[in-house]
Symmetry: C2
Subunit: 148 residues, 2 copies
């Protein structure tokens, strides 16, 4: 299951650079590139362990670095004290909505935000590189008193 379109792109990226295509690397890529949610490094390791593939923590972090460098994965920081990662989809940029009760993360886009941040940066003499917006709130389910 580690040889479809997405993982192939990673394999190709490695090959182009004459970097070894190893089993741990592809296993990590398989998890992360197909992720439907935002994984932490620890969760990736746990997911692999659950699949019977044990990889060292250092390798997980080092492979994430490679994946980020390849542009196939992007890093997120929701202020939880650790980082999360998600596959870089075709969405040019999106913001996050985080439930402070259950931790669920939803995504949304807003074109205006892109323009606004560029304008604000320019008005201050900054060359804008990127921005990060996280809205914290309580999701519908948690408002109903469910979930932890």
């Amino acid at each position: 299951m580690a040889d479809d379109a997405v993982t192939d792109r990673f394999r190709a990226w490695l090959r182009e650079r004459n970097l070894p295509v190893t089993a741990p690397r592809m296993a990590i890529a398989d998890v992360l590139l197909h992720a439907e949610r935002h994984y932490s490094a620890e969760e990736i390791e746990a997911e692999l362990a659950a699949r019977g593939t044990k990889v060292g923590t250092a390798t997980v972090y080092r492979t994430i670095d490679v994946l980020v460098e390849s542009g196939l994965v992007v890093e997120r920081d929701f202020g939880e004290g650790f980082r999360r990662f998600e596959p870089a989809r075709d969405i040019p940029h999106h913001e996050h909505l985080l439930c402070t009760s259950c931790g669920r993360v939803e995504e949304f886009r807003d074109e205006r935000l892109e323009r606004m941040t560029t304008l604000v940066a320019e008005s201050r003499g900054f060359a804008r590189q990127r921005h990060r917006l996280v809205i914290y709130g309580v999701c519908r389910d948690c408002q109903r008193g469910a979930v932890t």
Copy 2:
């Protein structure tokens, strides 16, 4: 220099709760409540050391907690791997512009953002609590090739 309007408010807050007004506490409050920039815990400790007042790291963190609890200081997370703190001014809410080259932080307000984030949250069924926007870029000085 630790007995002006701001530090007095902290002193009063402590007294109301029968909490000891100690020298280390007031020294930390003096630095943080008059800060013109966003201090990290380490920087506060260094600033105090530079003033000849040595306080333990744990005390810095514990006092910051108290200051945050008092509402006189607010915590910021710019994704640097550590937290920064600033005095809670009268500004209801403001966003941050961070220079990725020299680390300088500028602030700005944008009323629209408040409304926008509320609308987005509601449209997803979230009860909005707060939001955090950081724009990353390179400041004018750093664009000129100066600074590190």
